[in-house]
């Protein structure tokens, strides 16, 4: 049933790297791609679906492996051993599971072993999945969940509700397997019975990306983890001399006896075949064993999807066994260590294959270790190229904006600059790729620096620079270089540029100038990329702030008495400001120069709000740094500072708090700090990873930080992201 759905989704997993094998063949090695986690896999008609058979296979392989090493009777003897196993396989038209008729009796009585650990690492026996969740997760419900009344025209045998495994067991070669055939042949191109297949294809595509169902049905098998681990340990990574010897002898194509043509091993039975010569393809088609693993790289191919598939659980098994075996491999230089590893190899065998009772115990400590490890992709230090910490800290902040990350990692930038080597957006793109490459060595952003020197000349040279100035400069250059990403509406209206920078950073700052004589208001809206806030202790001190405003409009939960907060600064920023008698403005309604007040409010909130605390003050010839501590919250509500809130306040209308409250909420994701004095200092940044993990980035050094570290830091630039739009 599952294998009747041709899955195309696995194609979206792009090979991350291609490796040339020593043999000369190219092989795709693929990392967990975004879709990789989704990609599912089931062996379809594969024998893996039958627990009995799987167990038997494990036993067989075990015996076979031991036998081969003991007797060393070579490949001939081994093939003799393999034959009975293969003969047990059903005829091509039959589903593999249909021959293990006794399975049905055994199955329900098999107690679902469930260990307390919920980690996928734990090789627990999964209780048989209930049909309902399976149906929910993918595929046409009518096909997957026999007990449910099918909503689509169902294939004949599935119309009546049956116990889950019932219909499968009784499947007659003429009914369901035929359907399988029709689909299969349809895929193959000879679509005489393609009607049903087409329908299935359509239904499948409506379901959205769910992954490879053939993997899923492979994973239904009782011992699939054990089997897969065994295959990896014995035939693919082969860490111990014993298994290596075995691999050297046995890993040749069962059809042509060569080893060079991308040898793959069937996951459902013991069969090795050439990939390039299509021997394994032939086997898969005749036996309906849909999954095979590359014997030299460990990637798994699905013959139904016609592509390599990347399943999280399977890849974890591959990775675990690989690491273990690589360790063994490197330690086999001396005889002593060789013996040790032999011993450990034996132990391993005992623990994983034989004494099932020990499994949970042996696995649990590992689980704890895994918990401690942090997700580090995206955390990469940046080398200081000579007073370039001002750049590094901004780069760290920018690379952690989810939307910007999505934009660059999905290669959405289309460069039409005359010389792409000068395009800063292209450079940002490769910078994002470098930052998220998973490499742990610090990145050297020399290209970026060079381009900044070219495009923002005032920042050129190795002098210390202001991080805020750099931020504005880089946003400006990025904006200029990506103008062409959007259609040329730019010229007509500078406010609605559609480039990624403007989409993310641009907010609308409304400035209302009220004439003191006629009280008419003239409103202008200016785009802004950041909000520069005055600090208490500066010349424009705001101790004179009217108290009633503060009490009435702003929820002050983040406020610590006596310590000015970010909210205070924002209030000061949006206060009505008397422009004074010296700067009269011509009022459009009374047609004369009048004194007036000006008030700033947020007309449009940006997706990323960048607050610049003006710590560097220049008054006349005096320049100083203001070290006043400003408390800032992890979550910020911008509602009080909106133009609409102000309007509704003027009209004495209750501000619609409930519906807007979530829309205007922001959460902190990056803080940039300046240490030192105005003349010389250093920039560092705090970066949020995932939901609540904070890291301190000091050029090339990245360390874990606590929320206290961050909240008690001084703060120079604060980056907030609109809630609901960030997804990690």
């Amino acid at each position: 049933m599952e294998h009747t759905q041709p899955q195309q989704h696995s194609r979206s997993s792009i090979p991350d790297a291609l490796l040339l094998r020593p043999g000369g063949e190219l092989m795709a090695q693929v990392r967990d791609s975004p879709s990789g986690s989704l990609v599912r896999w089931s062996s379809g008609g594969g024998g893996g679906a039958s627990p009995e058979e799987a167990a038997e296979k494990a036993g067989k392989m075990e015996k076979e492996a031991v036998g081969a090493t003991k007797a060393c009777s070579g490949q001939g003897a081994e093939e003799m051993k393999l034959e009975p196993l293969q003969e047990r396989k059903p005829a091509p038209e039959n589903l593999t599971w249909s021959d293990s008729g006794d399975d049905k009796k055994v199955l329900p009585s098999t107690p679902p072993r469930c260990y307390s650990s919920s980690s996928p690492l734990c090789p627990r026996r999964k209780p048989r999945p209930r049909p309902q969740p399976r149906a929910r997760s993918r595929g046409p419900p009518g096909l997957l969940a026999p007990p449910q009344p099918p909503s689509h025209p169902p294939p004949p045998p599935l119309t009546r509700p049956q116990p889950w495994r019932g219909p499968r067991r009784r499947s007659r070669p003429g009914s369901r397997p035929q359907m399988l055939q029709s689909c299969f042949s349809d895929l193959g191109g000879s679509g005489d019975r393609g009607g049903l297949g087409d329908w299935l294809l359509e239904v499948e595509f409506d379901q959205g990306p769910t992954g490879c169902s053939h993997v899923e049905s492979f994973k239904v098998a009782k011992n699939w983890r054990k089997n897969l681990r065994l295959i990896y340990q014995r035939f693919i990574w082969s860490g111990t001399p014993e298994t290596r010897k075995h691999k050297a002898k046995s890993c040749i194509c069962h059809v042509c006896s060569t080893h060079m043509n991308r040898l793959h091993s069937c996951l459902s039975c013991v069969f090795f075949g050439c990939f390039t010569e299509k021997h394994i393809h032939k086997h898969a088609e005749t036996k309906q064993h849909n999954l095979a693993v590359d014997l030299y790289h460990g990637v798994i191919y699905c013959f139904m999807c016609k592509d390599y598939v990347y399943d999280k659980d399977m890849e974890r098994i591959a990775k675990e066994t690989k690491e273990k075996n690589l360790k063994l491999l490197t330690s086999t230089s001396t005889d002593v260590s060789q013996q040790q590893c032999m011993a450990s190899g034996v132990e391993e065998k005992h623990s994983t294959y034989e004494s099932k009772e020990q499994e949970p115990k042996l696995v649990k400590p590992k689980k704890k270790r895994r918990k401690k490890s942090v997700y580090t992709i995206g955390l990469r230090g940046l080398i200081n190229l000579g007073n370039t910490c001002f750049m590094n800290c901004i780069v760290q902040a920018l690379t952690h904006i989810p939307l910007l990350k999505d934009f660059f990692l999905s290669d959405k930038h289309k460069c039409i600059m005359t010389s792409p080597s000068l395009c800063l957006v292209c450079e940002m793109s490769s910078l994002f790729h470098a930052m998220y490459s998973g490499s742990r060595t610090p990145h050297i952003p020399y290209k970026l620096l060079h381009l900044i020197w070219i495009h923002a000349e005032h920042l050129a040279g190795y002098r210390q620079q202001d991080a805020h100035e750099f931020l504005i400069a880089i946003l400006d250059v990025l904006h200029r270089h990506s103008k062409d990403d959007s259609v040329g509406q730019e010229a007509s209206n500078p406010n609605c540029c559609n480039c990624i920078i403007d989409q993310i950073f641009t907010g609308g700052l409304q400035s209302d100038v009220t004439c003191q004589a006629c009280h008419s208001v003239s409103t202008t809206i200016d785009p802004c990329w950041d909000i520069s806030l005055d600090l208490p202790g500066s010349c424009a001190t705001f101790s004179s702030q009217s108290p009633e405003r503060a009490d009435s409009t702003v929820s002050r939960d983040d406020h610590i008495p006596g310590i000015p907060s970010l909210t205070d600064c924002l209030q000061w920023f949006t206060r009505p400001e008397y422009l004074g008698s010296s700067s009269k403005i011509k009022c459009s309604s009374c047609q004369s120069y009048q004194e007036s007040t000006k008030q700033l409010t947020m007309k449009k909130l940006p997706i990323v709000a960048c607050f610049h605390l003006k710590r560097f003050e220049h008054v006349g010839k005096q320049r100083r740094k203001i070290n006043t501590f400003i408390s800032f919250p992890l979550e910020l509500d911008m509602t009080p500072f909106l133009a609409s809130t102000k309007e509704s306040r003027m009209k004495e209308v209750q501000p619609p708090t409930d519906c807007t409250s979530n829309e205007n909420k922001y959460s902190l994701f990056a803080v940039i700090n300046h240490h030192g004095t105005l003349e010389s200092g250093h920039y560092t940044s705090f970066i949020r990873q995932q939901k609540d993990q904070w890291f301190s980035c000091d050029d090339a050094i990245i360390t874990k930080a606590t929320i206290e570290d961050l909240l008690y830091s001084e703060g120079y630039l604060l980056f907030y992201h609109k809630q609901g739009l960030e997804k990690d």
């Binding site: 194609r11 790297a17 291609l18 094998r21 190219l26 290596r244 060079m260």
Partner: protein, 101 residues
């Protein structure tokens, strides 16, 4: 069985391959090659090329098979001679040590 069809050359290849696997040298060579290819930028070049191919054909219409077919000639050609030489040297030394073959 099939062995009789295999010519001497192929037999030799198979024997060497067996020895390489048995000793674990194959894995070590693989790791070495991987490191060398990353070091010399081969991996990045090929990655870029793959991206081009995918962009050209559209993500939904590319399978690994297509990609392998398209990229293999270029991939082979791009391997620097120095890397080939080093690998060959390693294999030679290995064979000299296991001359009993």
């Amino acid at each position: 069985m099939v062995v009789s069809k295999m010519n001497k050359d192929a037999q030799m290849r198979a024997a060497i391959n067996q020895k390489l696997i048995e000793t674990g040298e194959r894995e070590r060579l693989k790791e070495l090659l991987r490191a060398k290819l990353i070091e010399c930028g081969w991996k990045d070049q090929l990655k870029a090329h793959c991206k081009e191919v995918i962009k050209e054909k559209g993500l939904e219409h590319v399978t690994v098979d297509d990609l392998v077919a398209e990229i293999t000639p270029k991939g082979r050609a791009l391997v620097p001679d120095s890397v080939k030489k080093e690998l060959l040297q390693r294999i030679r030394t290995f064979l000299a040590q296991h001359a009993s073959l």
